[in-house]
Symmetry: C2
């Protein structure tokens, strides 16, 4: 089996200032093509530590993916150090990256290029460049001959900036696939929402216990995406693998029904967006406690303007009354966190925004606020559609503000999704 080590370079990770999210993304990608990640290491950006870490990785792995330490400033020495390690005899300026740097910095009015910025296009002559379209530091690939560590190795150096690193991943995978003969792994991810992980595990226990040896199930819980179930099958040909995945997917669908909202990289907002587009319907939001986060989930989706018309963030009660038309009596008698308020917000959003559907949220995100009856973590969600308004209270009993906001918004999306499935069959 082809093995990999992922190295991150930089004091900002070692002192705890930054959480390393690159390694997890790279690892997921490597796994998807059948490369087994055996270790992840973070090290500081001194020459000695970089060389020690990378050499150890090269001795034990076929593939080494390094992120970080490629900035234009003096504390970033990864490029120079990897050049030294791989016996580079000179630096060469990469024309393609130079053009990208010029384009990016022109757009920011930073031409002619400074010496520091131009130097970003220079790489050791021991590497092949993978152009970085989104940043100034090129990605580098080093092909290391078998004679050096007893096995052929590929080493990649990617920027530390997460979206720049992520953008390079497809090229990294392509190159690994061209250099090594890989075992096949086939994956299928089924996305569920609304059933807690432990309950889900009980519901599918018998099926899970009887899975064949070469079929592996992983639970991937996430506050926004729900619990995703990833099935992986090893050591079979494509036809058998796909057939077996399809058979087990069908069983899961039978057991879990509407709790399954999609597959692969689907999200609630993507699936809802597709349904709305298909039906020529529009949606809007009225947000109190989620404060724009629900709208931002919709608008994170390219092309959202086809169905998402807008939203009213009615954080202050004056906005609930003046813009959404929530009655003062409702706020006085039931409070802002109530079924009555949520329903008037949803109806108001539908009217003001001129949409077919609207979702409203009103709750207590925390960490402070709340009462014994309505503690932090409580939210009322209302969904208004041409068929009427439905509302529901969710209680998460948590004072973690950002997690609460994520849970409130994703459960609100899921309510709309279920309404679209069950109620509206245009």
């Amino acid at each position: 089996m082809v093995t990999a080590t992922i190295c991150t370079i930089g004091d900002e990770i070692l002192i705890g200032q930054i959480v390393d999210t690159n390694s997890s993304k790279i690892s997921t990608a490597l796994n998807s093509i059948g490369v087994k990640v055996v270790s992840m290491v973070s090290t500081s950006d001194t020459e000695e530590d970089i060389i020690n870490t990378v050499e150890t990785a090269l001795k034990t792995s076929n593939v080494v993916v390094i992120t970080g330490g490629l900035g234009p400033t003096k504390d970033d020495i990864t490029k120079k150090t990897l050049g030294k390690l791989t016996g580079a005899t000179a630096d060469v300026e990469n024309q393609e990256q130079l053009e990208i740097i010029t384009r990016i910095l022109s757009a920011r009015g930073m031409v002619p290029l400074s010496a520091l910025n131009r130097a970003q296009a220079s790489v050791p002559n021991s590497c092949k460049v993978i152009p970085n379209e989104f940043g100034t530091a090129p990605c580098m690939e080093f092909d290391i001959p078998e004679s050096r560590y007893g096995h052929r190795a590929l080493m990649f150096s990617l920027p530390g900036v997460p979206f720049e690193a992520e953008a390079a991943i497809p090229k990294v995978l392509e190159s690994i696939q061209a250099h090594f003969s890989l075992d096949k792994i086939f994956h299928k991810t089924i996305c569920t929402f609304g059933i807690p992980e432990s309950t889900l595990a009980q519901q599918i226990e018998e099926w899970e216990d009887n899975l064949p040896e070469n079929l592996h199930l992983a639970y991937l819980p996430n506050p926004v995406l729900g619990v995703r179930l990833r099935l992986s099958i090893y050591g079979v040909d494509e036809e058998t693998g796909k057939a077996e995945l399809a058979e087990n997917e069908a069983k899961l669908r039978q057991m879990l029904g509407d709790a399954i909202y999609g597959e692969g990289t689907d999200s609630l907002q993507k699936v809802i967006g597709n349904t709305l587009k298909e039906r020529g319907m529009t949606v809007g939001v009225a947000e109190s406690c989620t404060g724009g986060f629900l709208a931002s989930l919709f608008t994170s989706q390219p092309g959202a303007s086809e169905y998402f018309h807008g939203g009213i963030i009615s954080y202050d009660n004056s906005v609930k009354m003046n813009v959404l038309g929530v009655e003062k009596e409702v706020l006085d008698n039931y409070g802002a966190v109530s079924r009555e308020c949520a329903e008037q917000m949803a109806a108001g959003a539908r009217r003001v925004l001129g949409t077919d559907c609207a979702i409203a949220t009103t709750g207590i995100a925390g960490p402070d606020g709340g009462t014994p009856e309505k503690p932090a973590g409580t939210v009322w969600v209302a969904v208004a559609t041409p068929e009427g308004i439905e509302s529901k209270k969710f209680s998460f009993n948590s004072t973690r503000r950002n997690i609460n906001i994520e849970r409130f918004a994703s459960n609100a999306l899921n309510m709309l999704r279920l309404q679209l499935i069950k109620k509206i069959t245009l």
Copy 2:
């Protein structure tokens, strides 16, 4: 200097299923007492890998903190393996942890304890237990004599569940401080916004080149937080350290002026929120292309309701006209992505939401859309205050939707910040 390695054990990190957030928290804590983290490593939960990883760590570090692999199931073998590594001769049942386990599982109706759960209270007799109040797996501390690796070492094993690991940190620090005589490290982070990393580096180059040997500078760029500059000083007493950091901070402030918006864990939204609270002012937003993300930055801040009244997400032009009062002629003659539209949106938001200030964004987030004159990555931002309206175009020339949204929103926040500094001195 006392050094540390942090090890995480478990396939869920290596396959990318989970992002490791424990290491970052543990590292921050170790740094705060002057322990230098020299490496972080993730390894799989086989006996061979655990022993290799931990022994390597013990050879190079005085302190090794391990998280994960302490669950009740068969695949969790950390406890047994660490017992073997440290020459344990038997297991002993820890009474304090047994009581905690009984209490936790009683609350879930899981008494009498199963053999698996009771076994959680047993530990190798080579360790000292740090009770885990929030979970069933006890934390363990192993004191390793100098004779073994040529230096005295302390090894801790903590659960992988983030809040359980976090709860054990104070006890871990206490024990390290009791065992070692520690050097001090002092950090100071200065937050800047609006100057690209490479330009910033040029502006402070001379100062940076003349920093003393024991003072280290790191650049931490982030699309939402801007470029943060972290100064670290080693090997001095507290008074000298703090004085030297303060002196260099003063120099930075002189060089960078208003580009500095805060320090430590500050964010633009936090700093703006504090300014608004101090002045008794309120703010609202009118968002087109940022689609709720700008509002969600404001509302991610606890207590935002004191100054953030709400927002209008006018994704569709009908909402721009009907709710914000943008004139049809403006949309027809200049388009939605124009100075004129942004200014009418900001004025409309201020009026409709009844706030002192309002920020409006209208642009093209991409990946599609845009024209040669207004490509994806273009945004007009307007800021309305009691002093009038200011507007500005930003061009990022990028088709990366989510990054564009982040940049649009953070630059919009920064415009309001600068207005609050420069124009409004109530």
